[in-house]
Amino acid sequence: MAETALASRPEPQSRASHSLSIRSLSKYYGSLAAVDDVSLEVRQGRFLTLLGPSGSGKTTILMATAGFVQPSAGEILLDDKPITNLPPDKRNFGMVFQGYALFPHMSVEDNIWFPLRVRGVSKSAAAKSVATSLELVQMAHLAKRLPTQLSGGQQQRVALARALVFQPDLLLLDEPLSALDKKLRADLQWELKSLHARLGTTFIYVTHDQEEALSMSDEIVILRDGKIEQQGDPVALYERPATRFVADFLGKSNFIRGQSAGGDAQGFRVKAGEVTLHQAGSQAADQPVLIALRPEKLSVTRARPDLPNAIPGRIAAFNYYGSTFHLQVETGALGDLIVTVPAWKCEIDPAIGNEVWLGWEPDASVVVRDN
């Protein structure tokens, strides 16, 4: 529905798209490394998300790219041209801030005129560009308002228009949706993605919200303690997390610790206590293994399922979310497992104390590095 509304809006002029290289970037605060030897390629026209918990260095990388943080070491290049020592106002990057950072004493249209004004464009000469930008974010009818007279979502649209009106080489977004309520956030995710598709500008997006990262990005870089933990497209990251941290931070996972015990071409066996599990892939025997299992990939049935992995358990707790049930199942051998089942086709009676069977295919779970 959000997309049909977008389709009727005017197309902006096509703009050249740029690539960014970050090479061995480090930033130390005293002896603390906020960013520790990070190298990153952002290909032109991509929507790249830096995802991580607070203190992971994502914002520092963005601020170094914008020019507000001087790196301790490393280089930043735009289309192979070094920009590491360029001041922020000479970089020609649009930036959208957490909390919008609109100028409170200027009207909406003066806010959007601002980047053109500092480039020596008079208000009358800028009128057309300002109007086009306002149309782009559906804010034309509120051009004369002051920022304090707008809602959070409207302010964020103005901030976007302001960051795009001067045709920046890159658009940097620093947790732009974090101040909005959940529903509005979801709507704006559609809009941002569609805006990116139509403009072709390279977007670099910083967030701690895994849902935002999954829904919008072409590529996600997961950061932890100033280092890149894993990067890839959203599906690859979600389906094949390399480490326990990624499996836990991006979506939810159950973790099962065990010992590998030989296998064949189909996969290998994992001994977890008294239970033997079947896991796809290969692994040398007698190695400790950590298996990550997504809650939605488990089946819950009354009778024993016809699956290579099956284990009985008892419902210890459940939550209802409208579309899904979240069940906490005590299995004894494998500890408590969390299971998500679609509420409309839940076969079992989700009451505390009920006996159920859990089951999954060998390729439903992945082996992750414990860290």
């Binding site: 914008a66 507000f68 106002d89 930036m95 601002f114 960051a163």
Partner: protein, 274 residues
């Protein structure tokens, strides 16, 4: 019954006390007004009718007019210097925002803490060495020094509400630092700067202790002229001058309140609309 009486009595006592204190604060100022329109030739209440002769005397007497002019010149100059220096200091401390800059800011408040008479004495000794006793430069310098802390306080307060991301936004949108200061920072902290200017002007305009110490014959500010007038002959023109001073101060205060009220109303209207 008894408890009721006691409660009423207690209430009356508190209210009576409050009104007495208020009267004590306000009456001396109110008494000035009837004295200023007296028809007598000495400081007294009107006897046979009211007269504006003493107001007329003020506006025709070269001595009073010159004192007013001197006060206005001194207050204007020290306001300008105090606002520039105080704002720059506040912005600098805010930008650095280190332990040292915090101590600098606290250090700058010393003129408020040290008793004026001590400062006046110190300045007297020092100004003699500098050779600026009884000059405009000396008085403007002294008044600038005492007004700076007030400007620092008001400007720092508005900077505390300024979102650093606005500065970053301006820079990322292509504004150089001078452009950012002119178009983004200064408009945002203007209310604080104006408030500081108002303080600085008022402080300089009715400051007397320092003026008595560091001036003799050449400089006669309005407060000093009033002081001398009371000592020499009890001319009711003093009451007329005092009344006008109170009126001007009151007008400035109301102006400040009114602009604040309007700002708040605008914000509240904006919030209601949202």
């Amino acid at each position: 019954m008894k408890g009721d009486f006691r409660e009423k009595f207690g209430r009356g006592l508190v209210l009576g006390g409050a009104w007495t204190v208020l009267a004590f604060l306000i009456l001396p100022m109110v008494v000035i007004f009837p004295v200023s329109v007296t028809d007598q030739y000495y400081l007294s209440m009107p006897k046979d009718g009211i007269s504006l002769a003493h107001y007329a005397a003020f506006f025709t007497n070269e001595i009073w007019l010159s004192a007013t002019a001197q006060s206005v010149i001194i207050a204007t100059c020290s306001t300008i210097f105090a606002v520039i220096l105080g704002s720059l200091c506040a912005i600098g401390c805010w930008r650095l925002s280190t332990g040292l800059s915090e101590s600098v800011r606290t250090f700058m408040l010393i003129p408020i803490i040290v008793p004026t008479i001590v400062q006046a004495l110190a300045m007297y000794r020092f100004w003699i060495d500098l050779g600026i006793i009884d000059t405009y430069v000396g008085v403007i310098l002294a008044h600038t020094l005492v007004a700076i802390p007030y400007v620092i306080i008001t400007v720092s307060a508005s900077l505390a509400n300024f979102d650093l991301r606005q500065e970053q936004a301006a820079r990322s949108l292509g504004a150089s630092m001078p452009q950012t200061i002119r178009w983004v920072i200064v408009p945002s902290i203007l209310p604080g700067v104006l408030s500081g200017a108002l303080f600085a002007f008022t402080i300089s305009f009715d400051e007397i202790v320092m003026v008595l110490f560091i001036t003799s014959r050449a400089i006669y500010t309005l407060p000093k002229r009033i002081w001398n007038g009371i000592e020499d002959h009890l001319d009711p023109t003093i009451a007329a001058v005092a009344t006008m001073l109170i009126a001007v101060t009151l007008a400035l205060l109301l102006l400040d309140l009114w602009t604040r009220h309007r700002r708040q109303q605008r914000l509240r209207a904006a919030a209601a609309e949202e």
